[in-house]
């Protein structure tokens, strides 16, 4: 099974056309987490699956050029830190950890529910980037030479 070559032209073309749509849909799901079913976890996995699509269709080399795994990995910890910092802001502004510090806004509006959509975005970043990095590490691992010095 050669992974670096990728699949046929048809698959590649369809992937190229659909990947942005899938990512957009994932972002939509993340942003509407407080209004409709879905949220950070579901949307994050959708985005991760889009990246995975690219990896399966184009192979490892192209994906390495397209995506920087190291930056994705840093984004995971950045997302986690920002989530924690929001919690700490809760202590500073409202006196208790993870309090809803922002204005609640109007029910059923996209920009409502205070801090909830923001946390949803951070979770989306953690899940999408993190799961892709996880699968990437599994995929680049060679049984023959992996890990031995």
């Amino acid at each position: 099974m050669k992974q670096s070559d990728g699949m046929t032209v048809i698959v590649k073309t369809i992937t190229r056309m659909s990947v942005w749509l899938i990512i957009l849909y994932g972002i939509y799901i993340i942003l509407h987490g407080h209004l409709t079913p879905g949220g950070g976890f579901a949307g994050g996995v959708i985005i991760a699956l889009a990246f995975l699509n690219v990896m399966l269709a184009y192979g490892r080399k192209y994906t390495e050029q397209w995506l920087n795994v190291r930056i994705m990995y840093d984004l995971v910890s950045t997302g986690a830190i920002l989530f924690l910092i929001i919690g700490i802001f809760g202590i500073a502004l409202k006196g208790s950890f993870l309090a809803n510090i922002l204005d609640l806004g109007e029910l059923f509006k996209l920009e409502s529910a205070g801090v909830i959509p923001i946390i949803d975005i951070f979770i989306g970043v953690i899940v999408s980037m993190g799961l892709f990095v996880m699968v990437w590490t599994l995929a680049v691992f060679h049984l023959e030479d992996g890990g031995e010095e």
């Binding site: 409709t36 976890f41 996880m134 590490t137 599994l138 992996g146 890990g147």
Partner: protein, 112 residues
């Protein structure tokens, strides 16, 4: 009651797989079956007859809703389940690399 019983049978099937199967991947699969059943238990306990999902819609009257708390809990445990699957797969791949087999009875450097 019959639903709970079936759900518990599903759990025991998973447990059976973990205890008797010798292939690492089979063990991982059985573990995920166990987790499905545990998740199902939680959601079953929260179901209310003739109630709707706990999401408001604009311009719609507030109706009776099913219990949202178990759903929140299960959302968490599904993510945990994926985490443990990934870690077990990583370990299984490393074990294959070292022992050249997925059979747990042949992976036995530790004993006693």
């Amino acid at each position: 009651m019959i639903i709970y019983l079936l759900c518990f049978i599903l759990f025991l099937v998973g447990l059976y797989g973990v205890l008797t199967k010798r292939n690492l991947i089979k063990i991982i699969l059985s573990l995920s079956i166990m987790e499905y059943s545990a998740n199902l238990f939680l959601v079953l306990f929260g179901y209310k007859r003739d109630a709707l999902f706990p999401i408001l819609e604009k311009g719609k009257e507030i109706q009776s809703m099913v219990d949202p708390l178990p759903q929140a809990l299960v959302l968490t445990s599904i993510v945990i389940e994926l985490g443990i699957t990934a870690m077990l797969v990583a370990l299984a791949v490393r074990l294959y690399q070292k022992y050249k087999t997925f059979d747990i009875t042949k992976i036995r450097r530790l004993s006693g």
